[in-house]
Point group: C5
Chain length 253, copies 5
């Protein structure tokens, strides 16, 4: 994970929404992966998250690459399942420094994803890549996917299955997120940026809350590239995450 960290913190630019949500998340500008690649470099992100198709055609090496190796569309109904669509070997050849994999804990198909991640984690480590688990409790059995005990369970699952880092949603308050971070032990915790927050300040407070709770950083997508000035947002986030400033200080950056 060291390659993704700066002052022991990491700011990742997430851009796997094209497969997970479709282009409805995009506008004329951010629909273009080249724009995102530029933004990742200019915004001095510590990593950029791509599916293999984007990495093969747009990745240029200026920022460490997290290759998302599974994925699904959101057109499918029923219990979620997301399988491997990029081999670890291929990820390595494209230049990835980490593989990312989503586990829908609680899904009726959970065991398929746990098993697949188990194999991928071992392959990644053999090739000196980190293994990052996106852990999203989902399925009929999950009533509230940001409930503190659910998020702490997600964080712990990341630790138990051998993830170097786990990407989880925010619980909404520092105290409960502290418990999630503690549950993750030596596995680093990244907050999942999620949908664009109502206001910039709201989002930054969430990020600050995660950091105060002990998170290593944030993997942010829509709250950066859907903002009117993505580069400024990147600068503010760097100030907050990497330089560990307050929301107020960061906004003045």
């Amino acid at each position: 994970m060291a390659v993704f960290l700066e002052n022991n913190r990491g700011l990742l630019l997430a851009y796997d929404q094209g497969l997970e949500h479709g282009p409805t998340d995009f506008n004329e500008r951010n629909v273009d992966p080249a724009f995102i690649m530029e933004l990742a470099a200019a915004g001095r992100f510590n990593g950029v998250v791509f599916q293999k198709g984007l990495a093969e055609k747009y990745y240029d090496g200026r920022v460490p690459l997290v290759l998302k190796v599974n994925g699904k569309t959101n057109l499918v109904k029923g219990e979620p399942v997301s399988r491997q669509i990029c081999s670890v070997d291929h990820a390595s050849k494209i230049g990835a420094k980490a593989v990312g994999y989503t586990i829908y804990a609680g899904s009726a198909h959970e065991s398929i994803m746990l098993e697949e991640f188990g194999r991928i984690q071992e392959e990644a480590h053999k090739l000196k890549m980190a293994a990052i688990a996106w852990i999203y409790p989902r399925g009929e059995a999950i009533k509230n996917d940001t409930a503190p005990e659910i998020i702490a369970y997600a964080a712990r699952t990341g630790l138990e299955v051998g993830a170097d880092a786990v990407k989880i949603k925010y619980t909404g308050d520092v105290e409960s997120f502290k418990w999630a971070v503690r549950s993750a032990g030596k596995t680093r915790v990244f907050m999942s940026g999620g949908p664009k927050a109502p206001s910039e300040a709201d989002f930054l407070k969430q990020v600050r809350g995660c950091l105060d709770a002990g998170a290593a950083g944030v993997a942010v997508g829509r709250n950066v590239w859907q903002s009117l000035d993505p580069l400024r947002m990147a600068r503010v986030l760097r100030s907050l995450v990497i330089e560990d400033r307050s929301v107020e200080e960061a906004l003045r950056a």
Copy 2:
């Protein structure tokens, strides 16, 4: 993909309907794959699409081959799934320059096809073949499979999973198809010809619309080989697609 392009455009002759729909699509003449092979060559198509059985018995090398490596009959009810029936290695030995694979995005079995395409794409690239994804959103969850946001999602899925080209249906208007093409980024977009249009002019307007929206070309089957004069239709389409003429000019060709 270069082998399939001319003036950066491509006109592919699709003939995988024998498995997908059965011979009801055919007449006495076009039921014969030899007729299609002749048509592909005489019509100067940039590629011809066959299942392995046809390629093994009828393909003669005059036109680049796209080997369709998965398929299903339309006799099966329920959520669609189509699995690999030709190995990439075999496709290469038959002389294919690309493999084609259908993904039914939105199907309950989507994850099986995404996973299989992921592996096939890597194998194809290792053997210097292109990987073309037919992406057809289908299944209980899909109400309208040519809705602009659905087609844009299909196009984007092609890009995300690493397809060199994506074959999708037309949305019906240039503006919305532009968004699909933009969503596909560096993945080339081919319009799926679909069932025979009510009139030749209708079909040609669709093709022109796709091209105006930025598509690389069209993969056409029934609208050519079901026409009364397939060779003339091929000539008209070449004029439209490869020489970039208007519908009116093309019809005079």
Copy 3:
């Protein structure tokens, strides 16, 4: 396929009913595979169809062997599926010149069988064996499994998936079966003999009809070995199929 043909026609003795239907199809005499092996040789059949258990214990090489490599009992309810139970390599070692595989087109499990046949066909060809597809549309979606368009679809499926020969049921009339044969292209068509016909003449007329429609031959089981004089029936069929005689001439043979 050449090894199974004589005058470009083939007469195969089918004996895979032991697994597919159970011994209710048999009497004291024909329950014995040794009797069938004798009959195949004495009746000068162009091939004999066995499951591996029979081939291992009774096959003696006097007649080319088609090894049926998948199978199921008829005790199972629900959508049919039949998986591989003999490896292609083993079939070759036993002395088979072809592998046979049943695909239940239209079954909810169709994709499993298409995929398996795809792999088996490639393996068989590598070992210089032919691949023969039994294509039987079946399952909830199939109302009438001898409807002309269904049989033509079955025939075409055999061609598309790369079968050297396809075994299908008779449609009931020459004209519609011609279309099935035409749909199969260069894939040779064998009529499936089916249950014992009400009269010998009825059965022979069916066979004659298939041949007139362009079929390469017939794979017959019950109509031979359930007849009172199987050897005579074999002689009649040879006359009809291989010597291309009329029903009347054949009956005089």
Copy 4:
């Protein structure tokens, strides 16, 4: 199979009930596999049937070993399925001279077991081991699992799939069992001992009936080791099966 035969007959001691039924089948004495191993040797059985756990810890080589390579508990409801839990290679290393495998013909999962047995049979023969199929028609579709036509079908299935011997239940009368034996052809038929019979005489008559019908022997468990004097029962059975005596003679043995 020769290693399991004496006078062309075989008497196998079955002891796979621990997994299939649980210890409710056992008493303080026969719960101990060491007791069974002693009994197998002292009773001069022609083979003993163990799961791998028992074979690894208790088998001592005095009697040829049939290693049962699949199994299930009877706690599971629904259509039965039993998968491989011991590799053929491992069975060979433990010293087995045959592998045993249960196929629940008629189960919705039948195809899984037929496929698995198909592979196991080939592996076993390569390692010079016999392949014995336990064929038990079961599942929603099976109304009476000892009906003559069902048992004959089970026997024939063993032949078709290449089993060296098949273990089936008794039909209840000699005539119908003769048909089952005839249906099995060169595959040797062993009667499955089944639950302890109401009286010793009842059981011995069943065994005699099977032998009179042409069976090669019996695989007996509960009727031996649940009897008050297992060794005497073994002696009686040897007399009946191997020395081909009448029930009355055997009882005097």
Copy 5:
């Protein structure tokens, strides 16, 4: 198993609850795997049970390692299934002396787990590691998962499938547990500690009962690390299990 035994008894510290139950089982102190590792060493346990993530990041070799190689969250509804998430080879490289695997006997997915354990057991033995089966009857078909006949069945299943040791729940009384131990034969029986007992004395009586019934030891988690003085509890358990003292003596230790 010898490495885990002392006076032929074993006291294992179980800590796989993070994945199986989530952090709700933990407090601020025991949520930290480092605390558990210390406790394992200071408490002189004969083994510690970790998932691979914990072993990779916290295991230091002071106590023999049992690596749990499958797992699931308790968020999933329906018939339980738990698949392999750590390869046996990887477990060995991390330093494990045994692999642990949970089989939900009676689950509709039982056959998947029996099959997987079968393969894992063979791999583990090849690498000189023990194979320990957690056997928990569960699923719609199981009304009472500590009923004596159910626990005896679980114990026997461990023996049949080749486990070196089996971890099962207590039946509640010595007599019935004796039958379970006897059913397990040469497979060593460990009581599963289960949820924190109402009182320390209650728990110790259970452990004493298991030992009196012939168990080799206990795999205890919550009753140690949820206790107010885990180290004292460890000392008491050692006295009870390893030194074979009475509850009263042990409590004075």
